[in-house]
């Protein structure tokens, strides 16, 4: 992204997988919007392909993946891989949900910048995305 300092950060909040737990995703989406970001929420039950397409179409600076179905080790690396295949290397990828601590290094190894567990204050996520997007620029 260029000239990002003047423009709003564009962030896709996405729900990969089949679980319907969207309380967290919606709270994050609203908190990011209230913090001045442009938020695109994908809605539920998105495939990795659909999420990557949204990220590209929306020219997003960041994508937050919310997953509580236990399928994070399958779906999250797949999304990162598809982004790479599409030549997208300037999008900050974060994840959140019921993700056991021991899976966090695996996701980071796959290319996720940060994993936010239950109880994370929304401000911590806002700060991380703001800082992370600035660094990627």
């Amino acid at each position: 992204m260029s000239a990002a300092t003047q423009t709003k950060i564009r962030v896709v909040v996405a729900k990969p997988g089949l679980d319907g737990h969207d309380r967290g995703a919606k709270i994050i989406a609203r908190a990011l919007r209230d913090a001045g970001m442009e938020v695109i929420y994908t809605g539920l039950h998105q495939t990795p392909e659909q999420i990557v397409e949204t990220v590209i179409q929306e020219d997003a600076d960041a994508v937050g993946l919310s997953i509580l179905s236990g399928a994070h080790l399958t779906l999250v690396p797949r999304i990162v891989e598809l982004l790479r295949e599409q030549g997208v290397d300037d999008v900050l990828v974060t994840a959140g949900g019921t993700i056991p601590a021991e899976d966090v290094p695996v996701l980071k190894e796959a290319g996720v910048a940060e994993v936010f567990g239950p109880g994370t204050p929304t401000q911590a996520i806002i700060d991380f995305i703001t800082e992370g997007v600035r660094t990627l620029d």
Binding site: L18, R23, I27, G70, A71
Partner: protein, 569 residues
């Protein structure tokens, strides 16, 4: 003439008021979790709708006695002195084989009913080998693709004896057919061994489709055809399964999605009243089906608000069934409910603290008069529960039942000025929601307009803000955060189980009679095209022909279409 204050001695209440005013209050908000303001003291003045004793020592009719209209104090005359609640832990993971083992473990440890958790693909109507199921098979529940899986799930468990609850909604009619056929085959399925007949099956299928669009978000069809499939199932089980609870009208997921206690109460009851309305419109007599409707509520951490919620719920349901729908059988008026402690109240931080939270929530469910109870395991903010955590959760119920003495008397909080006043207030607020929903054209229309969805998202955001501003304290999360309990052994669902399930499914596909599959699916679609036909018998035929869940749902989607949500936040 106003009374002369100087000549009248102040009442004891006024004296207390004055004394109270001399003390500074702690700097916290005295409200329920749902935001209802709480007074420092409740007295008989706080129940304007009833009198404390009533005229001539009569019992206040809005409170009544247990087992009688309006059931505020409980649905049975003897409550837990006669029979304890059913301890029913929700379980399911991996393939039917793994879950069958967990079921037997729970029965061996004194559990008295079974409750089946399905995996996400099963809840959405996808087969385990669908591309959409990748990584999800057997993760959050058991994978059931065909009647063969259902048979394995209950292998060695007599379906004529154990009551079984199945938490599935959008494809509930399909799963009910699988279950009924699996029971039919428990005896061997031939003429000499007819198996367990429909009229002996005892249990519950959730099948609460409105709350899927509101909160749980596992759907297959648009709202209107989904309501029709539900109506078919209610009608069919009313005729054929007299011991079966046809719908479990559920507030649990509404609450987990972030609703307040009042919203849970109001939206759940309105969903239930909508199902009653629809069944009557289909020509059923309210007294034929209403006794088989059951409920499922959450029990959150605000102790008295939860207890008041159950009491208000029973009273509203009884009144509406009797007064609005003209039900004459008292069994139609009484609200039987299952309760589960609040998953959303569990913290990933210092997870052992969750044992205490769950115990308090379970106690609220018991003092609220629940008929069955699931207690969550302390590690569920981290993963599916480990066996040890599940055992502690069950033991928590057993401690409440056998050690605490709370079961010795019925509705011990009845008549508490505070609990009665809070019950009244929650009832009043629930009727306010009913009025708003009616103005939108009823619950089906309100759901299509995302009204309850928006109210819940608002409440969820408000609670999160209160936690972040430290107006609400969550121990271990925003206060007393030092010292975690260290490592906890978590349940790992072996990723190889997905492969195992896909192999099982493909084995069934290879072994079955392809022509029968084709024929039963064609018949199903033909019936689906006719709005007045009932789909249950064609679904039973599909089940017998080993048609998969995904094949059935796709066939119905060809007729009904599918659903896409417009998210609100």
């Amino acid at each position: 003439m106003p009374p002369e204050p100087t000549t009248t001695a102040p009442s004891s209440y006024d004296q207390w008021r004055a004394a109270y005013g001399l003390n500074a209050e702690r700097d916290v908000e005295f409200t329920t979790l749902g935001g209802i303001p709480i007074e420092p003291l409740y007295t008989e003045k706080d129940r304007p709708t009833g009198t404390a004793e009533g005229a001539g020592g009569e019992i206040d009719p809005s409170i009544g006695v247990p087992g009688q209209y309006p059931f505020t104090r409980g649905v049975y005359p003897s409550m837990y002195r006669g029979r304890l609640w059913t301890m029913r832990q929700f379980a399911g993971f991996g393939t039917a084989e793994e879950t069958n083992e967990r079921f037997r473990y729970l029965l061996d440890h004194g559990q008295t009913g079974l409750s089946t958790a399905f995996d996400m693909p099963s809840l959405m109507g996808h087969d385990s080998d669908s591309a959409l199921s990748l990584g999800e098979v057997g993760r959050e529940g058991v994978a059931i693709d065909t009647v063969d899986d259902m048979q394995t799930l209950f292998q060695g468990i007599d379906l004529g004896k154990v009551s079984v609850s199945m938490t599935i909604n959008a494809p509930a009619a399909v799963m009910l057919a699988f279950f009924a056929v699996a029971a039919e085959r428990q005896g061997g399925g031939d003429q000499d061994n007819p198996g367990v007949p429909l009229d002996r099956l005892n249990g519950t299928i959730q099948a609460d489709i409105l709350k899927e669009y509101i909160a749980q978000k596992e759907w297959c069809f648009p709202v209107d055809p989904a309501m029709r499939v539900l109506g078919d199932m209610i009608e069919w089980s009313t005729r054929n399964m007299p011991r079966w609870n046809s719908v479990s009208i559920s507030g649990y997921h509404i609450r987990e999605a972030g609703a307040t206690a009042v919203q849970e109460l109001a939206f759940t009851l309105k969903d239930g009243l909508t199902y009653v309305e629809q069944a009557i419109e289909r020509g059923l007599d309210v007294d034929d089906f209403a006794p088989r409707l059951s409920f499922f509520f959450n029990s959150q951490i605000d102790f008295f608000e939860e207890i008041a919620k159950y009491r208000a719920a029973r009273r509203i349901w009884a009144r509406e069934l009797k007064e609005t729908f003209g039900a004459k059988n008292p069994k139609s008026w009484l609200m039987r409910t299952h309760t589960q402690t609040a998953g959303v109240s569990l913290t990933a931080q210092q997870p052992l603290n969750n044992v205490a939270r769950t115990a308090i929530e379970a106690l609220a469910g018991v003092l609220g008069g629940t008929q069955s109870l699931h207690t969550n395991s302390y590690d569920e903010a981290l993963a599916l529960p480990s066996e040890e955590a599940v055992r502690i959760a069950l033991r928590t119920q057993q401690i409440i039942a056998h050690e605490t003495g709370v079961t010795n008397t019925i509705d011990p909080l009845g008549g508490s000025w505070f609990v009665e006043a809070l019950t009244d207030e929650m009832e009043r607020q629930a009727y306010e929601y009913f009025r708003k929903i009616d103005e939108l054209g009823g619950m089906v229309e309100a759901v299509k307009l995302s009204y309850p969805q928006r109210e819940i998202a608002e409440a969820a955001f408000e609670l999160q803000t209160a936690i972040e501003d430290e107006r609400r304290i969550v121990v271990g999360v925003n206060r007393y955060t030092e010292g975690d309990d260290g490592e906890h052994p978590l349940l790992k669902v072996d990723p190889a189980l997905e492969r195992k399930q896909v192999d099982r499914l493909q084995g069934v596909r290879a072994a079955r009679d392809g022509a029968a599959v084709e024929a039963t699916l064609v018949a199903l679609k033909e019936q689906a095209e006719k709005p007045d036909a009932n789909l249950m018998d064609p679904l039973m035929d599909c089940a017998r022909a080993h048609v998969t869940e995904g094949e059935i749902i796709h066939a119905l989607q060809d007729v009904f279409g599918s659903y896409t949500e417009t998210p609100v936040f």
